[in-house]
Amino acid sequence: MLIDMYKTQRYYHHKDFRKPSHFHADKSVVTEGKKRGAREIKIVRRVLDVNDAMAQQNREMFAEKGVFVVNVMSSPGSGKTAILVKTLSHITLKIRCAVIVGDICTSNDADRLAGFGAPVVQINTDAFGGDCHLAAHVIKTAVNNFNLDEIDLLIIENLGNLVCPAEFDMGENLRIVVLSVTEGEDKSLKYPLMFRVCDAALLNKIDLLPYLDYDRKTAVRNILQVNPGMPVFEISAKTEEGFNSWIEWLMQKIHK
């Protein structure tokens, strides 16, 4: 019974990650207790199934409204906001965008992202060290700030963290992980789940390569070890080197 259940849970694999879980708790099954007076009650439920179910509701809502949703994740300081600023400046004339940006505190990122013709909502998880990720219920509330009928692309800038956000589906269509050449070449090996669940990687700050001992080939090889076939775009948010192929790829995904 249990084995069959796991076989149905193919959404663990990143390509199938977005499929809903057809997975129901059977609270009524009571088996023999393990010790005197105790009885074991089978539950067999994903601990995060409340989040998964809400993510699925979000996904259906976005599909109905024709909104394509991208979740951008990275470690702190890899350049997510700078990339989004430049990305918005390339695409807001072509499609109608909106941004949800998550941080533990400050609205600095929202301030940087404002002024590109895309509405921006800042989420602060807690002023003094709150949640380390955005979750489905947060997105569900945040989208109330937008008129989804007037949006084609919703970009969610997650909190800087390569661990927890990988675990929380929000109903997005596409996941992007950002890393930069000022970090180690082995980021993907240290945070394999993040690189497994994402659809593409952006290797940022390549304008700094002449000043660093960073081996970009090793970095790309390490990413492909964790997620063979993953598109890796080597870019600089400062000089916009590599942006054409990244934007072209993104637009293809949106129009698919």
């Binding site: 249990l2 796991y6 076989k7 193919r10 663990y12 694999h13 990143h14 708790a25 609270k27 009571v30 088996t31 207790g33 393990k34 010790k35 005197r36 007076g37 105790a38 009885r39 074991e40 009650i41 089978k42 539950i43 067999v44 439920r45 994903r46 601990v47 995060l48 409340v50 949640d131 380390c132 990720h133 963290n161 661990v163 927890c164 990988a166 675990e167 993907s188 090996l189 394999p192 789940l193 497994r196 492909l224 070890q225 964790v226 997620n227 063979p228 076939g229």
Partner: protein
């Protein structure tokens, strides 16, 4: 890093799973499966669980965590193997189309309940 939120979810699910006929139930043990690829540190989860379980029927409950290895299967040659390093290429054909068939679990499997009234009656 989000173990507290997970611990609170576990407490919530466990309490909701106590059968209605047990009026004075105490949860003795919670059985979990946690995959090695899940973003959860078992020690950290245990610590958070102790706090989240305070003043609930789980206050004395032990958290039993079965760690599940990462098992992958090649979509080309169907070979299955346990992954111990973060390399998701088929060890037989070197193909990159690899499915993770276990290792992402974060599942509450069962609870073990003691009904104080029933125990007294025994």
């Amino acid at each position: 890093m989000h173990e507290m939120g997970i611990a609170m979810q576990i407490v919530e699910i466990a309490i909701a799973s106590i059968p209605a006929d047990l009026v004075n139930a105490r949860i003795d043990r919670v059985n979990l499966k946690v995959g090695k690829l899940a973003a959860v540190v078992p020690e950290s989860l245990r610590f958070c669980f102790q706090i989240a379980a305070q003043d609930t029927p789980l206050c004395d409950a032990a958290l039993h965590i079965e760690e599940i290895p990462v098992v992958a299967r090649c979509n080309h040659c169907n070979v299955e193997w346990t992954i111990s390093e973060p390399v998701f290429r088929c060890r037989q054909c070197n193909g990159g189309s690899v499915e993770v068939i276990s290792g992402r679990e974060l599942d509450i499997i069962s609870i073990e309940v003691v009904d104080e009234d029933t125990t007294d009656a025994d």
